[in-house]
Symmetry: C2
Subunit: 587 residues, 2 copies
């Protein structure tokens, strides 16, 4: 059902791009057309125009679009001989369209499709609405102008792109615009700067975040939480270096897979090294360091460590895409008959972790299987694949996960379960993954001695629960809009003085908090209480403890929660108990 709905809005978005082109031609008859597809939230169209557009052009064009829609122009599809079409477009000077048809002819296309709406003719595969009247109820808006090279190449001419956003109803559009506004407010780069969570340096390089004391607290707390949960399920922490001989990644296949993304490490010694782009190959070498018996299995390793991938600078933005990626990665080495139990355990770990963050309510799981028609694209035997996929299906059934089978989405080396959650803005986030792998243990000749004294290869289960700390922080910062739950907040309590006479007691309060492992700050400057409260609020500190003469006398603090004007005066020890309990409940 969802698929059809998506299609309907796509048709509307694509049709609106044609209507936009009509409006532009009405305004600039000499305009030359590039292409105009639907996008994830609307549409765009690229134009070669006699003058540079200004923001004021957008409402004019939008008004023209609404007129066209109202006038009820039809969309008529017809086919034309490709070569004839080429000549026609050449004749009317539509050089971009000529180029497109020329390429289609080279690829062997005989016939091309056109859509005609009144005088407007556009080379287009469709589909479209039948008549612009169908667009009259939808919500759309021209959103921005940008430059875009023809066909994305810097060698070509820069065209002008007009973007629109469009949804099935004006209400949906408004909802989306509100979400955009909210997302902008919650942008992790903005909040990261405001709360001093991380920074970048031109001397260090793009995509290489430096975590400040406050950001480091976030990472440390997340690491403690995920490691605490995994430890309960028998995971053991390991630490591996960031470089290895290139041969390690040749053997694992990652050198070939990552290509230019792999950083090479050059030294004067014979051997060449590489920065690890993943953790798996290093962890196999710990498994391989001892003779393992079937009695030792399952062996479960976890590691929170950095890996490095050479992303293009253009793709780098805040913490969303980084070169230094801190991953929470882990691997189970077990027998085939242990896989099911291990996968179930991992589903429980995912649940424990995401539930504690309030993200378990709205999720779905994909069970990515191989494409039987393209079996040559995978590693392993058909029998193993069948066994493994059956195990994942059984896990889904027995745990009522309702995993959606996504054929052809499996990893090279085995099927997997992927978990999709929704953040506070309704955006889908995919992080945890559980992947079965028969190939790697064979590549690295990992074995265990079975009951008969024979060597066998274990199965490897790759698992990420938190995934990359950087991407996870992006999600959390935007999900919470920087207002972290108490257990995670870099500063948990701000002690604020009223008047100089409270300074001494405020310092005592501050020290008591510190001694009780509460992350506190002391605001005892000679400034107004109002200003100090505002600063603590800007810092998204969950608790403000105001201390004036009254509190000094009562040996108490006036507690004020963020966004809560209610003030409650409690003894300091009671506050310590309350916040400590809150932290442990949240954990």
């Amino acid at each position: 059902m969802e698929k059809i709905k998506v299609n309907k809005v796509d048709v509307i978005r694509h049709s609106l791009s044609h209507v936009l082109a009509m409006a532009v031609i009405d305004m600039f008859p000499e305009a030359k057309l590039g292409i105009g597809p639907a996008t994830e939230d609307g549409f765009y169209y690229d134009f070669d125009l006699p003058r540079t557009l200004i923001p004021e052009d957008l409402p004019i064009l939008e008004a023209k679009m609404r007129e066209i829609i109202k006038s009820g122009v039809g969309f008529k599809k017809y086919e034309e001989d490709a070569k004839k079409a080429y000549k026609k477009e050449e004749k009317r000077g539509a050089n971009y369209k000529t180029e497109l048809i020329g390429d289609l002819i080279k690829e062997g296309t005989k016939k091309v499709t056109y859509y005609q709406s009144g005088d407007f003719l556009d080379l287009c595969a469709g589909p479209h609405v039948k008549n612009t009247k169908e667009l009259s109820g939808v919500g759309f808006k021209l959103s921005k102008i940008a430059g875009a090279y023809w066909r994305g190449s810097e060698k070509n001419k820069m065209l002008q792109r007009i973007y629109g956003i469009a949804f099935l109803t004006p209400k949906e559009l408004r909802g989306y615009e509100k979400m955009l506004e909210e997302a902008e407010k919650r942008d992790h780069r903005k909040i990261g700067q405001e709360l001093d969570l991380f920074t970048f340096s031109d001397l260090v390089g793009p995509g290489l975040p430096l975590f400040t004391p406050r950001g480091t607290i976030l990472i440390d707390e997340l690491q403690k939480k995920i490691e605490g949960i995994c430890k309960k399920y028998g995971y053991e922490k390991v630490i591996t270096p960031h470089i290895a001989k290139e041969i390690l990644f040749e053997k694992s296949g990652h050198k070939q897979k990552f290509g230019k993304e792999l950083f090479r490490v050059i030294s004067e010694t014979k051997e060449d090294y590489a920065l690890k782009p993943v953790q798996c190959p290093h962890q196999t070498q710990i498994y391989a360091s001892r003779v393992r018996s079937y009695r030792d299995l399952p062996i479960r390793y976890m590691e929170s460590n950095k890996q490095y991938r050479n992303e293009q600078s253009g793709e780098i933005s805040g913490l969303s895409r980084v070169i230094a990626i801190t991953v929470e990665d882990g691997h189970v080495f077990c027998r085939m008959e242990q896989v099911k139990k291990e996968v179930k355990m991992l589903v429980k770990i995912v649940k424990d972790f995401y539930k504690s963050l309030g993200l378990w309510d709205d999720f779905w799981i994909s069970l990515s299987t191989h494409d039987p028609e393209q079996f040559e694209n995978y590693i392993g035997t058909k029998e193993d694949w069948k066994k493994a996929e059956t195990i994942l299906k059984e896990v889904s059934n027995e745990m009522n996960l309702g995993a959606k089978v996504c054929k052809g989405e499996a990893a090279l080396y085995g099927p997997k379960l992927d978990f999709m959650f929704k953040d506070a803005m309704g955006r889908e986030i995919q992080i945890p993954t559980i992947q079965l792998d028969f190939a790697t243990p064979q590549r690295f000749e990992l074995t265990y001695i079975n009951e008969k004294g024979e060597k066998e290869n274990p199965v490897m289960v790759h698992r990420a629960i938190l995934g990359s700390y950087e991407r996870f922080l992006v999600m959390l910062i935007e999900h919470y809009a920087g207002e972290f739950p108490v257990w995670l907040a870099p500063v948990q309590a701000s002690v604020i003085t009223v008047g100089a006479s409270a300074k001494k007691f405020a310092k005592e309060v501050y020290n008591t908090l510190k001694e009780n492992n509460i992350r506190a700050e002391l605001r005892d400057e000679n400034e107004t209480v109002g200003k100090k409260i505002r600063e603590a609020e800007l810092g998204k500190v969950p608790y403000m403890l105001v201390v004036g003469d009254k509190e000094v006398k009562a040996k108490a603090v006036a507690v004020r929660k963020l966004h809560d004007k209610k003030i409650e005066t409690v003894k300091i020890n009671k506050f310590v108990d309350l916040i400590t309990k809150e932290v442990s409940n949240e954990n």
Copy 2:
């Protein structure tokens, strides 16, 4: 005083190397001599001999040496014209000596020194004893034979080197030999393998340790301890990536300093990166990311993170010298007038940390100052140096540290305090260091706004408390001979069953321990109790909890400490209390 003592033993060692040469010539008159210096624990001499030596030759040579000593041969020093000496040596076919004299002549030497003992003549700067009789009371022993390239170059001929160990008295020699035996037993490579603490992989590369679950516990516990102590003193943890543009290290001076030891990181992008060989430059960039006011200082960062230096393979051995070095590093940024307080605080941190490991009893501190006669070798003004050295002297006086002034031992950028401890075998270990640095803040244009609204450079204090985790583990493993205190032990308690009927209760005990964060293992295999206890002892597990029918009935465990045959039966909860208290007392 110590210096003279060292010299006396050096003279004896060097004289013994001549006596060894006399003995070798007596045995092989055609022997050609290389060089024969004193070493840290004795002496050696390199020979070009007509046949390969065998271990059985050593007692024969030793006996000959004792005869020579007894016979009272004198050491007579005389000078000779270098060119004449060259011809003489050439004539007697002493090609190694000829080469040495040739080089001296090239360097402009006119006269060379010889020592004559009976017929034995050796080119040598001395000093020596007057007569071999002076050697009669000393303790010495020929210890081993090894191959050694002439002048250390693979291009030259391989000579045969005979090593001896020598001390002022036979008693000292015996003490040293005992220490060597003990050191061999405690060798961290041996214990690391036995206790499964770390491993190396040919595919990953030499000097790149992989920390197994047990080794990772050691690192994590040490990190928790040092970070806990530093946090109390206001240190804040940061995390920085392992690579940076090379320009960062050019600016800091580390690119020039580390030269070939710096790993370069190559990518397809324009910029070249390097693996960080130290943490300082990255941490300066966190300081530089915000405008700092004098009110914000001191700012104290700490970080436990890996850094990479391209050590030569030959130098790599176990964890003693590694390429991937995990350092516990930190920096204070403060005003000159805050330096003293910060240094005092750091001395307290060093004391807190080493005291908790039982290493604070026997230590000395060096105060490394600049050499005023070579001031051009340092960065900074004379005034700053004077101020900084005065601060360190005042700290030493006010805290009764008795720091020994070591002139000319300062770092390039400022004076420092270094702490020397002794391990269980009496070996000196130098780890903590506190270094003042005026240069780096200037190089990176780090500033803060002072009371007048003007920019000033802060002083940077570099500090390492634990130093490198790898070297620290070497020290701890050998200090404790793998028998770690309970708080650090990778496995704290081993639950051992007697008979199958105790299995169920043993599992309950094991689970209770786990729930109480006690690192436990369960030995419930169908093997003899004796075997299981032996295995736990080999694993150096501090507590063995034996569970048989009697204990099942009493809901108790029979507790047995490592190396302690006394068995005490206690309820499981009481044991949990005891061990928890022990861990928290040790921390």
